[in-house]
């Protein structure tokens, strides 16, 4: 398996959204999940499409057309799933993010890290 390219922040968000949506990952749900992950920033549907295309070209995700559904006016969904290369790239990104978090916590102190940890805990419910 080749080395995956390094991911941009938006690519990480889209891959995380696909990972967490599992079988239900398609344009609308991915966009909703990415918006949730990126808040308070607004995310356009077009940006999600462009990123999905790019990730597919890189071989990080695969797509297929599902059966048409009536709530979509009888049109099919393009569903996405992570490929092995995508999972690896996401793991590497998560490890890097953890290292960044630990370095910042070391400089700004444990109190700061605790406070942010609590805030995130509340956000996650």
């Amino acid at each position: 398996m080749g080395n995956p390219d390094s991911l941009g922040q938006f690519e990480q968000l889209v891959l995380t959204a696909i990972l967490s949506l599992r079988e239900d990952a398609y344009g609308v749900t991915i966009h909703a999940k990415v918006e949730e992950l990126a808040r308070p920033k607004a995310v356009s549907l077009g940006a999600v499409y462009v990123t999905l295309d790019r990730l597919e070209d890189k071989g990080l995700v695969a797509s297929w057309l599902s059966d048409p559904t009536p709530e979509r006016g009888g049109r099919a969904k393009r569903c996405y799933r992570l490929e092995a290369l995508g999972e690896r790239a996401l793991q590497e990104s998560a490890i890097t993010a953890k290292r960044i978090w630990e370095s910042i916590a070391q400089v700004w102190g444990k109190e700061w890290a605790k406070e942010w940890g609590k805030r995130w805990g509340k956000e996650a419910g």
Binding site: G27, S44, Y49, V50, T69
Partner: protein, 251 residues
């Protein structure tokens, strides 16, 4: 009953979306529908990016560069052959670049809006006709507002004819792909194509290849016109004939 966008609006939006992603994008927009203004805003934000992404996916930079080169060369040669002074006139080169650039835009759009999986033997001919049609249309538009930038008719016709032959030959040799294969970020994208070859009658390929080689020969002969002796021109002609013979033999 679930609210749905008006059919005519969906149809209009659908026309602007490339066929390869029309079904899924229209379905997503339909699912998110919460009123006409929201639908139109969604479409306005999403569709341009979808088109750009499709153009990126269907563009092979190396082949596109070759197409740009042969288009520029065609119009340059037509101008050089018909009126050598044209190139030194103010805005002369700019006037030649406009139809070449517009034809290239036409080729890009034709590839982006091609139906994936539907490959026809006439594809290699339709795309250059569409591209050069856009080039001629741009000249018509320019003649209304900026007549100083319009090419003389005979240069436009000769350049378009030669451009058609060369681009059609190029697209026969390196057929465009409707879908970029996964992980195809490396060089020589056209080398990685898979699937069934174009179902073109061998005679048509033979004729087009020979015509393409003859067009290149014509270009070379025109540029060799300045040489004081006839030897090099004869050499070029002999080379072109040899190439034509080779192209004919290798089909």
């Amino acid at each position: 009953m679930r609210a749905a966008p008006p059919r005519w609006v969906e149809m209009l939006v659908g026309i602007t979306i490339p066929p390869a992603c029309r079904e899924s994008v229209l379905g997503d927009l339909h699912e998110r529908y919460a009123g006409l203004p929201q639908y139109l805003l969604d479409a306005l934000c999403a569709v341009p990016l979808v088109i750009v992404s499709r153009i990126r996916r269907t563009t092979d930079p190396q082949v596109r560069l070759l197409e740009a080169f042969v288009l520029c060369l065609s119009f340059l040669t037509a101008a050089r052959y018909k009126d050598a002074n044209f190139l030194t006139e103010p805005w002369g080169l700019m006037r030649l670049a406009i139809p070449a650039a517009m034809a290239l835009v036409g080729l890009m759009l034709e590839d982006a809006y091609a139906r994936p999986g539907r490959r026809s033997p006439v594809n290699a001919i339709v795309a250059p006709v569409f591209g050069l049609g856009i080039a001629c249309l741009s000249q018509l538009v320019l003649s209304g507002g900026w007549p100083a930038l319009v090419l003389p008719q005979w240069i436009l016709l000769a350049g378009s004819g030669m451009g058609f032959l060369l681009v059609a030959t190029l697209r026969m040799l390196f057929p465009p792909l409707a879908d970029r294969p996964q992980g195809a970020n490396g060089p020589a994208f056209w080398l990685q194509q898979s699937g069934k070859p174009l179902n073109i009658p061998p005679v048509a390929i033979r004729v087009l290849k020979v015509m393409g080689v003859m067009a290149v020969a014509a270009l070379l002969v025109v540029f060799a016109d300045d040489l004081p002796i006839v030897g090099p021109r004869l050499l070029v002609l002999a080379g072109a004939l040899l190439l034509a013979h080779e192209a004919n033999r290798r089909v």
